[in-house]
């Protein structure tokens, strides 16, 4: 342990002096990776928002673990999930925060969506109130979230067609008007669950070396909190 700690500290301290010759060395400790850049998975911070009982947790559980529970326990605060998937030539790693949906937990949500690269706003097609709530989330994210955030609108519980209250057309129009992409999903039947996450992965931007300003050194490293992520192509 002493050896490991020693190396770790040493590596941390070498970072500022060797990699950053400019002012930001006070803010960031960085670390070089021996792993070739193109083989490192890109990590994206992602958040799920929506009314309570809309099925946010069921959606994530279906995607990450392939499970569906008829009665998923209420989420308190937020729950974290991690999943890696392959998209085109890249490996993408999702770090997913599944937030509590009750309205009063709204004051805690900024902590989770700030710095998120993507957000899924979930509503229940059998509940008009949940669609209203989803629209409020869209507005809040547009005002306060990452401007480059990829946003998806998910109409969940698509298997309950006989109880539908929100038409797909209405939701699609709203999504197009506000720059989101829209899918109706069903965590129960696994309909469009993987598709919505894959679509997000496809839409997430890649860092382009040409954009580097003169004299700026970018560390090609997967980073939590990266907004439009810099990652391998």
């Amino acid at each position: 342990m002493a050896t490991i700690g020693h190396n770790n500290l040493n590596a941390k301290l070498v970072g500022p002096s060797s990699l950053f010759s400019i002012s930001f060395c006070f803010f960031f400790l960085s670390q070089s990776f021996s792993i070739p850049m193109m083989f490192s998975p890109c990590s994206f911070h992602q958040v799920l928002l929506g009314d309570m009982g809309a099925g946010k947790s069921s959606l994530v559980l279906r995607f990450v673990k392939g499970q569906f529970l008829e009665f998923q326990e209420s989420t308190i605060g937020a729950a974290f999930f991690s999943q890696t998937l392959a998209v085109n030539d890249a490996t993408v790693k999702f770090e997913i925060w599944d937030t509590a949906g009750q309205e009063r937990y709204h004051s805690l949500a900024p902590m989770y969506y700030r710095g998120a690269a993507a957000a899924i706003i979930v509503y229940d097609i059998t509940s008009s109130d949940s669609f209203t709530r989803a629209k409020k989330w869209v507005q809040e994210l547009q005002k306060q979230g990452n401007p480059n955030m990829v946003m998806a609108l998910a109409g969940n519980k698509a298997d309950l067609e006989d109880k539908r209250k929100v038409t797909a057309e209405e939701a699609r129009v709203y999504a197009e008007e506000n720059g989101l992409f829209f899918m109706e999903t069903s965590a129960k039947t696994a309909s469009n669950v993987n598709d919505i996450f894959y679509e997000i992965a496809k839409r997430l931007p890649r860092a382009q070396p040409a954009q580097n300003p003169a004299g700026m050194v970018l560390v090609d490293r997967p980073a939590e909190g990266t907004r439009a992520a810099s990652c391998c192509s």
């Binding site: 008829e70 326990e73 209420s74």
Partner: protein, 825 residues
């Protein structure tokens, strides 16, 4: 009758633990390993608690005598109480009336026992007045508000009775729908049950009840404060601190017993060791002071209330809470055998009753789990009062609409983390992980569904005993201590959080967790937390106020750090930010100027000043000022973190070197010892060698002596052999001689006879003298006899001829053979 309380079911299903809660598959094996440990611990603590309760029962006998005296003294007042309750008697059955009367009497005794007579009475009146006020508000829309302290108690009691009469009147109305509705309500009322805890725990309950009087006062103050303005919450904190911080003193003053402190310490030790399963429900009630908190018929009245009776505003909110509760009922410990339809009905009633009881909170997700847990341990109404105590006092302000206290506690916890585990927090900052991401759900859920159930219950034992949230912080710090080192080795935010969640979920060693928390963080006290709350509350209030004013939340310091960090990795986003967000313009400009003028802090601040001059809006100026402050703080923090890291590295290197030196010196000492030992061994062996040489010399000498002796013995042997041989030859020769002599004797005798006959026949006179000579030498000399015989024989042989020749050859042969033998020798 319906099943009143739900006993713990020891389900045999492998997917559930001994409490009936779901067990995740990846932890099933670990849980089975700990099951036997849990059993042993349970037996041990049951014995300890039994001994303790027996001692308490013995020492409480004098107290019961005091109670008896108080009863005698209170006799006149009890008569008044009876008179006052006569109308109540008429409206209820005899049994319930008697029961309630006895409870009232007990309450009177409790009041009388305290030494603050008048003040207590006034407080009691105030409580009644306030409750009466609530009742009148609820029963009559638009009714007149009753001010506190200005109305006599009887008037408020009259209001209460009129409220009940109203309910009875509506129940007897002609409307069949209403009748059916109220009959259902009455049925549900009948299902509920209040149960007294066992007598041995009453003493403990009385001790803990002593802190509730002030609690009620605090509660009233807090409610008023909330109604008036938020900062008054800060004012009510000192009262809260007084209650919790000096609970032992309160108990000592009230009971006036010198033994009480030692009892308290002993009880504290037992609680930290865990409360036995069989006692847990009742002990928790004693800790929260359920009996003291209870107001008769209050719970039934809450449930019996009709929605249409409430005001529009509260009715709308209540409707929302009702829907949310319905959604969460099946999502509370799904599949638990005790939460069947009856269990869920109890849970619904409890949560609805509480929403009416405390509209400032209503219903908040997480409360469903607490209520469910309490219903598993105690009857419904008891659970309600325990639940109300926890939400109203232990976690006051936590689950309100703004969740103020929850956010304040997260800031406090982060500060404690930076103070206690700076390296870990620095690493999390580096990964981009916020402490509150992890601990936020811990605090809001009070670790339910976070750690294994055995550990949850152990934490709650201590939490309810202490009467405040200190145990919440200590447990969280203990988890960081136990699993923080594993986090420091991770290089990715996702891996760090996933690993940490897995480790936390496997905390089956409940004793280790609780003892680490209780013994390792004694510096985390209610007084300390109070100070930190005063420190962090304003920033949370500012954020909430700004959000309510401008409809948007401003990003905190973490946001700034994340923004700068993101800028480093994607500078293109800067221009987009400028275009898209006017509000972020200042921040973006700050970033650019930070980049271009970053030689020192002053220049950066001046740059920000320049920018603020350009942006003339007060709003922007305020933001810039705030940014400056945050920027300074951030830079200081980072610098101190870097310095700390360097110090740690230096210390670590020195420790490593010292450690090596110690090892080397120890190694050298060992080697020296070994060398010394080897030298001793060598010396010993040399001595042995010398000794062996001496022995060898002696052996050689002995050998020589032996050799000489052997040679002599050989010579002697040879000589003896020779002699033996010689003797043998002589013996043989002698034997042969004897044989020959015998033959000659025989021949001689025969010849002699012949001769005698011849001579006597020829001449008588000549032969007679010779015969006489021959006979005489034979008898005198045997040796001569032999010589004579040989002479005589020779003579005769010459005379005879051949027969004598053989005899002479034999004698020569015998004479020559000894010579040959001696030559051989």
């Amino acid at each position: 009758m319906a099943h009143f309380s739900f006993n713990l079911l020891h389900s045999l299903e492998p997917k559930r633990d001994s409490y009936g809660f779901a067990l995740r598959p990846q932890y099933a094996q670990t849980y089975r390993e700990y099951s036997s440990i849990y059993k042993e611990e349970e037996d041990e603590r049951s014995d300890k608690w039994s001994d303790f309760l027996e001692q308490v029962a013995e020492s409480s006998e004098p107290t019961s005598e005091n109670e008896h005296k108080d009863t005698l003294k209170a006799e006149p007042e009890s008569n008044e109480v009876r008179e006052e309750r006569n109308p109540h008697k008429l409206s209820n059955g005899d049994d319930s009336s008697g029961r309630q009367f006895s409870e009232l009497e007990e309450e009177t005794i409790v009041v009388r026992k305290s030494a603050e007579g008048n003040e207590i009475i006034e407080e009691t009146i105030q409580d009644r007045v306030s409750k009466g006020g609530d009742s009148s508000d609820r029963t009559t829309s638009g009714g007149t508000e009753i001010k506190e302290g200005t109305s006599p108690g009887r008037v408020s009691e009259g209001d209460d009775s009129s409220g009940r009469n109203f309910i009875c009147y509506s129940a007897t109305g002609n409307n069949s729908g209403k009748e059916q509705h109220h009959s259902e309500e009455r049925k549900t009322c009948e299902v509920q049950r209040w149960a007294e805890i066992r007598p041995s725990l009453i003493t403990i309950e009385e001790i803990f009840s002593s802190r509730i009087k002030k609690g009620k006062q605090m509660k009233g103050g807090k409610i008023n404060g909330i109604n008036v303005h938020l900062p008054s919450i800060e004012e009510s904190e000192p009262v809260d601190d007084g209650i919790n911080g000096s609970r032992a003193e309160n108990a000592l003053v009230d009971q006036n017993l010198p033994e009480l402190f030692s009892r308290w310490k002993e009880l504290e030790s037992l609680v930290q060791g865990g409360v036995p399963k069989d006692l847990r429900g009742e002990v928790w009630q004693a800790f929260v002071g359920v009996k003291k908190r209870r107001v008769e018929s209050y719970y039934e009245d809450l449930l019996a209330r009709d929605e249409s009776e409430e005001q529009d505003v509260s009715s709308a909110a209540f409707g929302k809470w009702k829907k949310q509760i319905e959604k969460d009922l099946p999502r509370t410990f799904p599949g638990h055998p005790a939460l069947d339809e009856n269990g869920r009905n109890s849970l619904r009633r409890l949560l609805l009753a509480y929403a009416r009881h405390n509209p400032e909170v209503g219903y908040c997700q997480a409360m469903n789990f607490f209520a469910g847990l309490l219903l598993l341990l105690m009857p419904e109404e008891n659970a309600f009062w325990a639940f109300a105590g926890i939400i109203d006092e232990y976690f006051a302000g936590y689950y309100t609409e703004d969740m103020i206290e929850s956010q304040v506690d997260q800031l406090i916890f982060e500060e404690l983390m930076r103070e206690r585990f700076p390296k870990l927090v620095n690493h999390l900052d580096y990964l981009g992980v916020q402490v509150a991401w992890i601990s936020g759900s811990w605090f809001l859920s009070i670790f339910v569904n976070i750690i294994p159930w055995e550990s949850v219950l152990r934490v709650w034992d201590v939490l309810l005993f202490e009467g405040n949230r200190v145990m919440l912080f200590r447990t969280a710090l203990a988890l960081m201590e136990l699993y923080g080192p594993a986090l420091v080795t991770t290089k990715d935010a996702g891996d760090a959080i996933t690993l940490f969640q897995s480790l936390v979920g496997s905390t089956f060693d409940s004793s280790q967790l609780v003892f680490t928390a209780c013994m390792g963080y004694l510096a985390v006290t209610e007084a300390r937390l109070k100070e930190l709350r005063e420190k962090h509350l304003p920033s949370v209030l500012d954020v909430i106020e700004e959000r309510s004013k401008k409809g948007r939340a401003w990003k905190d310091s973490k946001g700034l750090a994340s923004k700068l960090y993101s800028f480093k990795h994607d500078p293109g986003s800067l221009e987009e930010e400028r275009i898209l967000t006017e509000g972020s313009d200042t921040v973006a400009d700050g970033n650019v100027q930070l980049e271009s003028h970053s030689s020192n802090l002053d220049e950066m601040l001046n740059s920000l000043n320049v920018d603020s001059e350009v942006g003339s809006l007060p709003h922007l100026q305020e933001q810039v000022v705030w940014l400056k402050v945050e920027l300074c703080r951030l830079m200081e923090e980072k610098r101190s973190a870097i310095l700390r890291a360097e110090e740690l590295e230096t210390a670590l290197m020195e420790m490593v070197k010292e450690d090596n030196r110690l090892q080397l010196s120890a190694r050298v000492e060992q080697l020296e010892q070994e060398v010394a030992e080897l030298q001793q061994v060598i010396a010993d062996k040399k001595e042995q060698e010398a000794a062996m040489l001496q022995v060898l010399v002696r052996l050689e000498q002995d050998q020589k002596v032996t050799e000489d002796a052997r040679r002599r013995s050989e010579q002697d042997l040879a000589a003896h052999k020779f002699e033996v041989h010689v003797l043998q030859e002589k013996y043989d020769k002698a034997m042969q001689s004897i044989a020959e002599m015998q033959k000659r004797v025989v021949m001689a005798e025969s010849m002699l006879e012949a001769t005698l006959q011849y001579e006597s026949g020829q001449s008588k006179a000549l032969s007679s003298p010779r015969t006489g000579r021959v006979q005489s030498p034979r008898f005198e000399n045997p040796t001569r006899k032999v010589s004579l015989l040989s002479f005589g024989l020779g003579w005769r042989d010459k005379n005879k001829g051949k027969p004598n020749a053989e005899e002479s050859s034999e004698s020569l042969h015998d004479h020559s053979s000894p010579r040959k033998e001696s030559d051989n020798q």
